[in-house]
């Protein structure tokens, strides 16, 4: 099954093309603010190198974040539009699962972390089951201390924040915490391979409804509150 996958939510943007377990072509670039400029051209390059026409892919997988908010919007919009245009199924894959997937043979639970800004992190706990991963509980967004409080068993921490907060993790968790390699940024093919079992089951996401993963839903509400406070200076009704 030929799957085209890409992710523009992580600092390293990636495109990958696979045929079942076989990698046909992939490409990665350090995106500063050029995700929008490069993505379609780089998809074209990877398809050409893999010798597959866009019409001949059988599914699309895309990173839906969390990560760069702008990047996730670009990736998701490109994926949903391509899926609609060539009438192929699409699967959204979280950056957290993509990070965890690379260590799916671990014997302990895996906690991938993504920077959420303002000294917060996004995280989740995954358990290896066979060749795939099962998420335990909900996604986490908050400071590292709150995340640490939820850890009661040996855990493998992955992603940049795992290295940024390594001292805190080591202090609070001692021997329970272990760490992945600092350069553990997933390739485009990882997103394809995570989606593959879903496609094989005939499962996919609704292309037109596909959206980035929103873990900070409260932002709009917070803004509303702020505006109401600002408005208290105007004439009363």
């Amino acid at each position: 099954m030929r799957i085209l996958a890409f992710d523009t939510a992580a600092p390293t943007n990636t495109v990958g093309l696979v045929d079942d377990d076989r990698l046909l072509a992939d490409y990665a670039w350090e995106a500063r603010d050029n995700s929008l400029q490069r993505i379609v051209l780089n998809i074209d390059q990877v398809l050409k190198r893999g010798g597959v026409a866009l019409e001949d892919i059988e599914g699309l997988a895309v990173g839906i974040g969390p990560g760069s908010w702008t990047g996730a919007k670009v990736g998701v919009t490109v994926a949903k539009t391509l899926a609609y245009a060539v009438n192929k199924p699409v699967c959204g894959v979280t950056s957290l699962e993509a990070l965890a997937y690379q260590c799916r043979t671990a014997s302990v639970q895996i906690c991938p972390l993504v920077d959420a800004g303002k000294e917060n992190v996004y995280g989740a706990f995954y358990r290896p089951r066979g060749k795939s991963l099962v998420r335990k509980g909900d996604f986490y967004v908050g400071d590292i201390k709150g995340l640490v409080a939820a850890v009661k068993e040996p855990t493998l921490f992955l992603g940049k924040p795992a290295h940024l907060y390594r001292r805190t993790l080591a202090r609070e968790l001692g021997p329970l915490a272990s760490y992945g390699s600092p350069s553990d940024s997933p390739s485009g093919c990882v997103f394809a391979w995570i989606a593959l079992p879903r496609f094989r089951k005939g499962d996919s996401d609704d292309a037109l409804a596909l959206a980035p993963l929103y873990l900070k839903e409260s932002l709009a509400q917070a803004l509303l509150l702020k505006r109401q406070q600002e408005d208290s200076g105007k004439p009363s009704q």
């Binding site: 929008l36 379609v40 998809i43 919009t77 949903k80 539009t81 004439p235």
Partner: protein, 334 residues
Amino acid sequence: MLILGIETSCDETAAALVDDSAVLSNIISSQIDLHASFGGVVPEVASRKHVEAIGYVIKEALDSAHKMLSDIDGIAVSARYGLIGSLIVGVSAAKSLAYALKVPLVGTHHIEGHIFAPILSHPEMPLPHVCLTVSGGHTMLVYVKGLCQYEVMGNTLDDAAGEAFDKIAKFLNIGFPGGPAIDRLSLRGKRTAFDLPRPMVKSRSLDFSFSGLKTCVVNMFRGKEQDTIPLPDVAASFQEAIVDVLVSKAIQAAERKGATAISVTGGVSSNRRLREAFQETCGKLGLEVFFPLPELRTDNAAMVAAAGAARLERGEASGLDLNAVPTAPLESTR
């Protein structure tokens, strides 16, 4: 030539199919109710909604025109001028479609879209002409020398006219968007009730400035109970001041260029008093005045398709590396 237009530069997610000057569909998913609860457009919320709506809006533009993706000859998108987080959604969708369908892509300037709305509505409109484009996001006077050839003659130095309407409506607690709310109230008020300043109306410059006018109204009524403010009179006087400035600057621009026609476009071109004043004044001076069809006044994608078609006819397609640029001069191409 069947062109799909895509517009996501502010808070409307829009797609339209235009075949020469025939608008086959014009779909607009407005976020106005959502943003009304915030008293204005929240960029983060707007961009999120664009991602959710864009696919449905494009599909609806095709379905309601009874066209298929394979019928499309080119894709036009507002790529310049607007909220960056919003623009990127339209550009992402447009370049993906152009790539998948193997048709030309063209990125246009949002203001160029507004300039094309009256041209699309009245194909007989003379060129050159002077265009006043006025909305919540901009107030601009443009000399349209020919299709896709522009000279910006005046621009706002602070608030856009529509923004001034929104801010005063918000201050008076009469609702969002402010333009229609003030227009409705003003029907019951006296235009001469308050002697408000006409900012820059006497100056040689064709630039606009509305923040002083706004401050003047705010200072008059700050801290007063709403039921003690003569709202219809305030609305009518405030609206009249803005209309006066817009009309007189547009006429000055036309006279300076010897143009025989003026077009008035953008969301504020729906303002009843503005249209009336333009018709009166232009009538007296023997100038023709053109407004877009009602559905082409606020942000829409049919105007983008029309601008894109003109650019494609000139051989000005964009590459797949097309970027979204929030602030770009109108005169720059591609």
